[in-house]
Amino acid sequence: MSTKNASSAAGRFGEFGGRYVPETLIPALDQLADAHRRLKRDADFQKRFKGLLKDYVGRPSPLSFAARLSGKFKRRIWLKREDLNHTGAHKINNALGQALMTSYLGKKRIIAETGAGQHGVATATACALLGLECRIYMGKEDMRRQLPNVYRMRLLGAEVVGVESGTKTLKDAVNEALRDWVTNVKTTHYILGSALGPHPFPTMVRDFQSVIGREAKVQIKRAEGRLPDALIACVGGGSNAIGLFHPFIKDTAVAMVGVEAGGNGTALGEHAARFDGGSVGVFQGTRSFVLQNRDGQVEGTHSVSAGLDYPSVGPEHAWLYATKRARYLRCSDDQALEGFHLLAEYEGIIPAMETAHAFGVLPQILKKVPKDGIVIVNVSGRGDKDVAEAARLEGVEL
């Protein structure tokens, strides 16, 4: 398959993607796909969106040279600093884009799901900024793990609803948000937080996140005079990774490496490594790799980071994997904690536990990069939210 077939006009990335939803959602997805197509070329919308990214989010985010890490690994390591965005992660790029779109659709109510709470916080922030009503669905188990973020969302004026069904985590929050959307589709927009779900979400979220890769491309050319040898990012649903990767897909000399949550074992239920332990199937509106049993039932996942704890992965990643354009590795919980310390101690940046996965297997990835080669690692978020949990895992009393 050539990279040309990546065209997502019909919401397909090769065999992946699509729109596997109940009939009631079809008109809303049609309307959204229309709006996405239209607003992509709408000068007024683009001007407002770029203005918000610059003056409210603080973009462009810096590309920092990691001098001490570079010295340690004998490679030139650059960090794309999404952790410096307002609200502390890449999630705000998409939340703002979709919230702004909602005002153009004439809808006043927003719903969203959240796992770690970062997308929930970003959505609540965008809703406060634009004066939209906001309800966030969050698994009860995730609420327990990410209590400060629950309070943050409430501070921002959002209503946070605990989800008790299924595994009480991210996937169940998505189900509950979809159920709300089916019921209130006339008045409500659903801001999906990752490059997942039915068309047009994977394409639309990727477009809003591609600012990461576009900036990085300009920044690395300016700093190094050439494109990097590899891009590295953690992959939950995959929005930070696809945001970095997408502008480089046609630059075939640039390797792309995604890092999945390896959890604490290789059995189903012990990890969230979809490419390593999953199979192709349909889940929550899209065809992709899914952690499912032989009966097609979706299994629970495990990861030290709530943001990677999801049984499926964005369909464009599935396509990059199937066409071998990108590679995907797994990073265990223990390795992620090592990555957490590595970036903190060497560069003075405490990363989100999701981001820490990319650093947990960095030595392994760099083996395939020539000596003095150039890599960009996406620092998708900052780790303040994870400090208490990391301490608990390491037996440190705070």
Binding site: G18, R19, Y20, V21, P22, E23, T24, I26, P27, S165, G166, K171, D172, V174, N175, L178, R179, V182, T183, N184, V185, K186, G281, V282, F283, Q284, G285, V290, Q292, R294, D295, G296, Q297, V298, E299
Partner: protein, 273 residues
């Protein structure tokens, strides 16, 4: 292309017969394996005797995004009792020794794909299943799935929603065999006390483009409501209401008799229209 004629199908025959008799269909939904397949095997023949015209048999799925709490919990109970597609097929084959009531499976794409579409079409028809409704498979995503199911002798039933546009409405009716399912309100499955105001107009719109029978469902729970809905369509589906009774009586000897008794009241109300 079809190797089976539609007229061989129990579901199609049932609606043809009802039309000749000028009667409306009462369709009862239960989840297979709730609380276990042994109960399902007793329940279906009992519902048949109670006057139910069509059984909609849910195949449990771990992430039923179009279902409300009643059916979500039924899915959890059914999965906990080990229910899977092969088990459901075996139960239907056993039921066929006592009952010829049309049985339509109601589920999501994932369990059917995991079993294999081709294999499912063959084994389901052999087990005595008459049709399939996939909640999360709009026809444009099917890539030949519907055709393969129909070639195996199964009726494919599509859903139409209150916000479905005109052109799409006729396409969905055309893809449907046996009947088309009109989801009469926004939202997930579950009980409500009223009926939507636009019901009459919506059914008329479907009827203008197609001769396929229309069954109305989502939120119907009382005999009075069922009778009102039946006036507008060719049949009425009741699900969550019966599923709640199964939840309440799980483990009790009276479960089958109680659910059948309620189904009899609902069927009588629909048949009186």
């Amino acid at each position: 292309m079809s190797v089976h004629k539609d007229s061989d199908n129990r579901l199609v025959q049932c609606f043809d017969r009802l039309r000749e008799q000028g009667r409306k269909a009462f369709v009862a939904y239960i989840t297979a394996g709730d609380p276990d397949l042994g109960v399902t095997e007793q329940l279906i023949p009992a519902l048949d005797k109670a006057g139910v015209d069509v059984i909609e048999l849910g195949v449990p799925y771990s992430d039923p995004m179009a279902d409300g709490p009643a059916i979500q919990m039924a899915c959890e109970r059914a999965l906990a009792s080990g229910t899977s597609v092969p088990g459901v097929l075996a139960s239907v084959a056993a039921i066929r020794k006592h009952s010829q009531v049309p049985i339509l499976l109601f589920t999501y794409v994932s369990p059917i794909e995991a079993y294999g579409v081709e294999r499912f079409a063959r084994d389901a028809a052999r087990a005595g299943i008459d049709g399939l409704l996939l909640l999360d498979l709009p026809p444009e995503e099917d890539h030949g799935v519907f055709e393969r199911l129909r070639a195996g002798g199964l009726a494919t039933v599509c859903l139409i929603a209150p916000n479905t546009e005109d052109a799409r409405r006729s396409m969905l009716a055309q893809e449907s065999r046996g009947f088309v399912y009109y989801v009469c309100r926004f939202g997930v499955t579950g009980e409500r006390s009223d009926l939507p105001k636009d019901l009459k107009r919506q059914i008329a719109a479907i009827k203008r483009g197609s001769s396929v029978p229309v069954c109305i469902g989502f939120g119907i729970s009382s005999p009075e409501q069922a009778a009102l809905a039946a006036k507008h369509g060719d049949g009425v589906v009741v699900g969550s209401h019966l599923v709640r009774m199964i939840e309440r009586d799980a483990g009790k000897k009276s479960l089958v008799a109680n659910v059948a008794k309620r189904a009899k009241q609902l069927a009588a109300a629909v048949h009186a229209v």
